[in-house]
């Protein structure tokens, strides 16, 4: 079942395109925003609402790296691993995160608080290295800054 809020947001996306199915990426994002990830049940619900097959929707869901088809933590850390951040030392951030949180790429902390994922270029290369947590961008990050940044996300 979709909530009334989810339906409102999905309908808004449908109104911007000629047919329901075309809004499927936005619909997945709406549901993910409310539920954290796209479970098989959510997938079936969205497919039904958009009048498309579940497999068709899953082929789209699994293509896009920011649609999560398995559970993630309450906060998702996207660490930029592209060239400018590599030159400026993002690997040290990855090491510090691994030491501090005990997780590497694709993993979630045991308390369900953080998931760590690599992400292609965040488009802030003059302020490398960079990372995002949920919707927030952090630039010129040093390993020393990580602990205080992370503490904001409960």
């Amino acid at each position: 079942m979709l909530t009334r809020e989810e339906i409102l947001e999905i309908d808004r996306a449908i109104s911007a395109v000629p047919y329901r199915k075309a809004a499927c990426i936005e619909a997945l994002k709406v549901v993910q925003t409310h539920r954290g990830w796209i479970s098989d049940e959510s997938l079936r619900t969205v497919a039904g609402y958009l009048e498309m097959s579940v497999d068709d929707l899953d082929s789209v869901a699994t293509f896009y790296n920011l649609i999560f088809r398995k559970p993630v933590g309450r906060h998702v850390i996207l660490l930029c691993d592209s060239i400018s951040c590599w030159v400026m030392g993002y690997e040290q951030l990855r090491e510090r995160l691994r030491d501090h949180l005990g997780i590497d790429y694709g993993e979630t902390t045991a308390d369900g608080r953080y998931t760590l994922l690599p992400n292609p270029c965040l488009g802030t290369c003059d302020c490398a290295p960079a990372l995002m947590i949920d919707n927030d961008l952090y630039r010129k990050v040093t390993p020393e800054m990580l602990e205080s940044i992370l503490s904001k996300y409960l």
């Binding site: 075309a22 088809r69 290369c125």
Partner: protein, 447 residues
Amino acid sequence: MEKPLTQHIRADGKPLSLNEYERVGGYSALRKVLSGMTPGDVLNVVKDSNLRGRGGAGFPTGLKWSFVPQDGPRPRYLICNADEMEPGTFKDRLLLECTPHQLIEGMIIAAFAIGADVSYVFLRWAYREAARIINVAIHEAQEAGYLGRNILGSGYDLAMHLHTGAGRYICGEETALLNSLEGKRAIPRAKPPFPQVSGLFGKPTIVNNVETLCCIPPIITHGAEWFRKLSLTSDAGTKIYGVSGKVKKPGAWELPMGVSLRELIEEYAGGMLDGHKFRGALPGGASTDFLVELDVKMDYSSVAAAGSRLGTGTVVVLDDRTCPVGFVRNLEQFFAQESCGFCTPCREGIPWIRNILTAMENGEGMPGDIDLLERHARGLGPGHTFCAFAPGAMEPLQSALRFFRDDFIRHIEEHTCPWREHPVNDHNSRGFVVPHLQTNYHAADTH
């Protein structure tokens, strides 16, 4: 020095509101267009201006628009490609976040020129602040009568929507972008038919980059000749250049088209960080060949003559304390992960290259590896793959093999990376036998 794209940007980096933009002459170009110019007039001015696409390919904008059939089916679409994901590129973010109304004005004029009924901004997911700003700006423009029905009493109607993506670099390829906007996997389409004839939902469509569209209002206001004269060379206009890497003042600046790479790095970026020497640079993002000479004019034709491409015009610098093999390995890791997987050479070939480079970095390089890499660079070059993704991925590799060959040889002969203390732990290089599982870090792919 004239800066038609960035001159009104606020010092605090906040977006220019509608009122602020109007006070500095904003939307006067649109008024000029709608109070007497025909779509053909607009097209001719843009053609005469010699404006070329700023997204990377450099295709002449007016020519692209002219391919939309006059009596083609409706609705027609105008799309702003704001899926800035080329590694090392951060120029469109500046325009999206700081001067959203100039983009919207440029989009409305472009849409009028091609007779579009509906327009979309295709924005990458990661630009959260830009999404908020563009949403506000579209709303402001609607309230002011610049969008919607009967714009400024002209009888012209245009709807505008913001679409934010869900990741994947390939969405920036214009036909993959169309598929994504239709709610499909972002896989490039065969051409022909070209999008101008059969694009979004099978209807005539123009896709232009953010920076390209931001050039349109000043071209209409000041004319084609003025725009051509902004440049130092035969490629017209100004360009937003950027520099990142180990320089003193990395950043982005609007400068006349054709400034030299030397000026960009030594003057605007403040030179190399102390203790670092320049070895080379990617002139326009991850999918451009290395330049090792600084005295190259940064325009389309001069960079091409020097053996590379202007691309996005945002430079990534390689210094002497950074390993060129590791540098290229990072790029190929990106391309291996971001390949859409549709065509075999790209899906299988790039992970193979990444694995060889990882092996080299970990001291497991073998004598035949350089030949193997060169064979891949040819086999994945232009004409062998479905779209331009893999040929782009080969550009930094093939040029690195030429300019930094001794460094590759050293990795193999010394069984170690001379720059690296710890092994690369991303992939188990030689033991990694199933290259098409390259997306194993994506949560999406592991369910």
